[in-house]
Symmetry: C2
Subunit: 390 residues, 2 copies
């Protein structure tokens, strides 16, 4: 009764600094690559859901839905979705809903963010709009500050050290070395992380994802559309989930827990009809090193208080049992916030298809998970991707 | 196979100036009224789609989905939708999709905008982010300017006068006189409109909708949920449509035509399985007087070039054959942009149920249409509401 949703094509700009490029320029490239990968035309698209967070601040540009449709050559209803750093995964989930409902057979989803055309101070201020303006922003909270509170409280409740966090950054940089779409293709050592300038204790520079420009896009189709048009669609989105929490940390029952991710994960597992133990590989939202540990615990891959050492122990490294952030993660791939969720979908699709530079690390993988968070995980969207027989 | 979507309850703050109230305060009131009207609890809600346009400018607040869920007492996935002045009707359409798909049985939709806590100049600048930043905003275009271009070109191509426009404002003010939720409860005369200070020729002050604070919300449910819970749901959303166009006027084939509204209207009529001649009453997006005429033509209620005189000729007045904007419209009810689309749904629901102050004007009506536009109609969302037998 419900249509299955296949990923027909994905596209993604190189993440990094391209301050001379507008978001419409970035998104049209990503969408064009997705059309080519899918072997469809822009005119085929029946709906666009587009994620963007800070266009008002960076480009004084709202109303980007129709703007991006126009830039991508799409003539269809087009809507911008904003869930802070989870904007484009919320857009992907809407695309899945739309196709499942039978109201569209082919949908373009994606997102873009332009961040490097403004100063780091302006960017930090813009990003803080994802926090609670009344209770956090005017108290001086920025995101490195908010996540460092979460890290310090985690250490206090469950243990863990800066060295544990450093191993997460080292792992994600190592994964990005050969990913030509990543912002940083540079391996780092634990010492580099520990000796880097402090941003907000316990975080040094290498604990924090960068400001980035970039865009990502994906063409989603119903299984019947794929069959009818002879499209090659080896990856299916079998599960979606989304959760919400109070925007401000002061309203949470626990600072180092992320129940919105717990809810999103459980919803996605139930939706896909799988158990978390079926997941072979994951891309999670490591905006700060601690966030990767919080994600792995919220999703139930680790008990609370135990994911902090997963990278150090080699469990989540490229050659580990359960590779996490093979793309390089937000830390090394980059974090153009409105593009990040769909970029995870793009990278995971390639990992499962076997055409990602790191696919060899997961040649037996058939189930992948993406976890994309907004703010201090007041929003979280989880997707389950599975290889399908065609 | 597809679930029918019923409107279980609606809520709306009084529109106007309440600069001391935050958007979370406004929305929680509207949502609370919708819950009460629907006879459901906040905890019943399975998804929230929330429209807001300029929160970044007015409150330095993005990421309002989870914020508003929290304010309304909702524990469910919550996403902000931004399509300029069509933000909350895009949110309503997503709610309809969600219920039709069978993935939720009860959804909260709505929107809010806070505009009067900043100056009119700041508000005008914020609103201009709905236009094309590269080609319109930096050329100095504001919305009164853009719509006055459309009006002047309309006059040039099809005829019409400032007096024709004045009758639209007079009609909408008359409709709002007894609407206690409207911003202006004041009747005006044609002379008042013509003698008012010029904003952007041909528009005077009374040709322009005001800056407003306000919120609106609606509880949507599947027909099976309504039946199971014994809810009173006499109004159904039977048709939805959305269209897109180039963001900037310079990229349009015709300045005084709005093809995004033509597409949205046709899509909604087809979806509902009705003809436009079946529509008994309409709420359309009269952000400026000319916009009401453009809407009526795009929707096919009038031939191109002929709607300009509809109000003057008494056809669209309260006692006319086809009443338009019985709520007072954006002109007199007010236009808190992120709330406007859902406010149209709220007002139309009451008109059809018979509990609106102006319901007596449409006591035989069973089919209503709402038309909500973003920017210079680069986005447009149309809904068809019908009375149903229970």
């Amino acid at each position: 009764m419900v249509n299955d949703v296949r990923i027909a094509g994905v596209g993604m700009t190189k993440f990094g600094a391209s301050p001379e490029r507008t978001s419409r320029d970035l998104f049209s490239q990503a969408a064009g690559e997705a059309f080519e990968d899918a072997d469809v035309e822009p005119g085929d698209i029946e709906e666009l859901y587009y994620g963007n967070f800070m266009g008002e601040f960076a480009e004084t540009q709202g109303h980007q839905g129709p703007l991006m449709a126009d830039a991508a050559g799409v003539d269809a209803p087009a809507t911008r979705v904003e869930s802070a750093c989870a904007s484009s995964s919320a857009a992907v989930r809407m695309g899945v809903d739309k196709i499942r409902s039978g109201q569209a057979d082919i949908v373009l989803v994606g997102g873009a963010e332009r961040m490097k055309n403004i100063s780091t101070a302006e960017g930090t201020e813009a990003l803080s709009a994802a926090a609670d303006a009344l209770w956090e922003i005017r108290a001086g909270v920025t995101f490195p500050g908010a996540y460092s509170l979460m890290a310090n409280r985690y250490f206090h409740e469950f243990g863990g050290t800066r060295e544990d966090l450093a191993h997460i950054a080292v792992k994600n940089h190592a994964n990005a070395v050969n990913n030509e779409l990543a912002q940083f293709n540079k391996a780092i050592e634990v010492e580099d992380v520990l000796e880097a300038p402090t941003v907000s204790a316990p975080f040094g520079l290498y604990d924090c994802s960068p400001m980035s420009d970039g865009a990502a896009a994906a063409v989603l189709v119903s299984d019947s559309f794929a069959e009818e048009h002879g499209l090659d669609t080896p990856v299916e989105i079998t599960g979606v989930g989304q959760g919400s929490d109070a925007l401000g940390l002061q309203d949470r029952a626990s600072i180092p827990r992320t129940p919105a991710a717990e809810e999103a994960g459980q919803m996605a597992f139930d939706d896909a009809g799988i158990d978390r133990s079926d997941v072979d590989v994951a891309e999670v939202h490591d905006c700060f090193t601690i966030a990767e540990a919080l994600a792995l615990e919220a999703l139930g891959f680790y008990e609370t208080g135990e994911a902090i050492s997963a990278a150090r122990d080699g469990e989540t490294t490229k050659d580990g049992e359960f590779p996490v952030n093979l793309s390089g993660g937000l830390k090394a791939k980059g974090h153009p916030v409105g593009a990040t969720g769909c970029a995870q979908i793009s990278e995971m699709t390639k990992l499962l298809r076997g055409d990602h530079v790191n696919s060899d690390a997961v040649s037996d993988a058939s189930v992948g998970l993406t976890h994309n968070a907004g703010g201090t995980v007041a929003s979280c969207v989880v997707h389950i991707l599975e290889e399908v027989d065609q």
